[in-house]
Symmetry: C2
Subunit: 313 residues, 2 copies
């Protein structure tokens, strides 16, 4: 059977037609153009799904359902987008509206949760029924899978591990109102700030030289790989921030695996192995076996729409 | 039907015969005497269950099962006590041994998890299918109920929220190997240390005077109620530590309720209302409704054995 998965982003919308085995038979990406408003976005979205069906040689009637991921607070049980700052949506009955316009079953969910489900069904999490997915992007997204199903909690706000506080004695107040949120230590933006700070303090370092040509989440890793000790310090500290939160989550949830996605996770083993080894040394010390796997996400930007499709499988 | 519930503690063992409605038809408490070793403890435990049946006018054959809570790492699926420092047990097949000796179905579980289940089935959590239970005792115990069932994670180590780190830049290393564990801020022992520190810094305060007669987890609350500002500061800060971790847990799990047990929770509304109001102000700010309840546990020392009995219901 075939399903449409849609990942609505603040900038771009990605979508694809996916079968039960996770084969993407057609896909596309286009600008969301949020300024056009809810109705126009919705109609375009449905038109685009129809074109994707055509591209794949499918009749629209052959589609078994439509799943949609939205970057905001979504009550997935009610099919309601409670709020989505990026798109300026509030209290929108997205699932019901899509169903009325297409006759298809529609489910909606938080975008990070969709990506978590995508990785669990078709990506790096395929061997695991219990996992925590974390995206190290501009911000932090996270999703929790328990017994093969998305765990969203009461408000379906979507397992916001990025707002778990890891530094109570902090002066930095997060937009959420909390302080010392994990996100403010481990997001790509946080890593950029940490890199800039180290470069400033060590103006003669290779890192400082490289920073002059612009700073991204990759800069510290690049400088470290060229042998810069200041950069290695930045990376080590950044990794210890990730590990600290992961140990906290392991104490609460003890999943089979943590799956790390987002731009920074492209650093691969350099990032992931130290986290995995620190986590399992901790488990060793406390005897709450089995060990927990830590792996990189595999589906990249497709995780969101593939997971959205999995909502209606 | 009738079930035996047993709560083995490092010092005392509590047990009771409980029916499906949570009525305790007979119960007892006795010294665990761990120095006698596993076999002797086990045989005495079974003898005591038999006497409890007699006391209740029940035939031992009428007992439908035996549930046991143990203060350690328990693989509840395998019925195995992986390790229990208090009793010096390691890799003990408790459930299997009880079954062999009695012919009864037996389940074992971490003691805090049993207490969580007890409160959810028969105590303050009765209205909630999704809750997080936290005991504010000498140490911190916690349990998570999802969809009316205990959630234990892969290793069944038992939802150890006390070892979620809330202060990454901390020098204090916990026995678990982590630093800045929530437990080191909110346990009764932590509150005693916070009280003593404040008394030392403010030798003329009422708090300091009261501390001379001995310090417990109640001292700061008592002095605050008598109008002492230093004590109020200690209590406010202590409550903010609890709230900080609860907001972290709400971001991850968003349960319907937090149930607070243990000695400190006896402070009642003084402790609970500020936490509840801060948590729901946070939810308001972020729009991930519904609100979350915060309530005090109701079953006291009976929660453990009642929850243990619920394991086999």
């Amino acid at each position: 059977m075939y399903y449409a998965g849609v990942d609505i982003g603040g900038k771009n919308t990605k979508m694809g037609i996916v079968d039960d085995f996770g084969v993407v038979v057609s896909s596309m990406e286009y600008k969301t153009q949020m300024e056009r408003g809810y109705d126009a976005i919705l109609l375009e979205l449905i038109e685009n799904i129809k074109s994707l069906c055509e591209q794949a040689g499918l009749d629209f009637d052959e589609l078994s359902g439509i799943g949609i991921g939205v970057p905001g607070i979504v009550n997935s049980r009610a099919g309601l987008v409670m709020s989505c700052a990026n798109l300026n949506w509030k209290g929108v009955e997205l699932a019901g509206d899509v169903k009325n316009l297409t006759g298809k079953e529609c489910k909606v969910c938080n975008d990070a949760n969709c990506a978590a489900l995508g990785e669990q069904r078709f990506g790096s999490g395929r061997n695991y029924k219990n996992l925590v997915f974390i995206t190290l992007g501009t911000g932090i997204g996270s999703g929790i899978i328990i017994d093969g199903k998305l765990f969203e909690g009461l408000g379906c706000a979507g397992a916001e591990a990025g707002h778990m506080g890891i530094q109570i004695e902090s002066d930095e107040v997060c937009s959420c109102g909390n302080k010392g949120c994990w996100e403010s230590f481990i997001s790509a933006s946080a890593l950029v700030a940490q890199t800039e700070e180290a470069a400033k303090k060590n103006p003669d370092s290779l890192l400082a030289k490289m920073c002059k040509e612009g700073v991204s989440g990759k800069t510290a890793f690049l400088a470290m790989n060229k042998g810069d000790a200041v950069a290695k310090n930045v990376v080590d500290r950044y990794i210890s921030y990730i590990t600290y939160g992961i140990i906290g989550l392991a104490n609460i949830l003890h999943p089979q695996a943590f799956v790390l996605g987002g731009g920074i996770a492209n650093e691969g083993a350099t990032l992931i192995l130290p986290i995995k080894s620190a986590l399992n040394a901790y488990i060793d010390n406390n005897g709450f076996y089995p060990y927990v796997d830590v792996v990189g996400a595999r589906l990249g930007n497709s995780a969101g729409f593939m997971g959205a499709a999995a909502l209606v499988m």
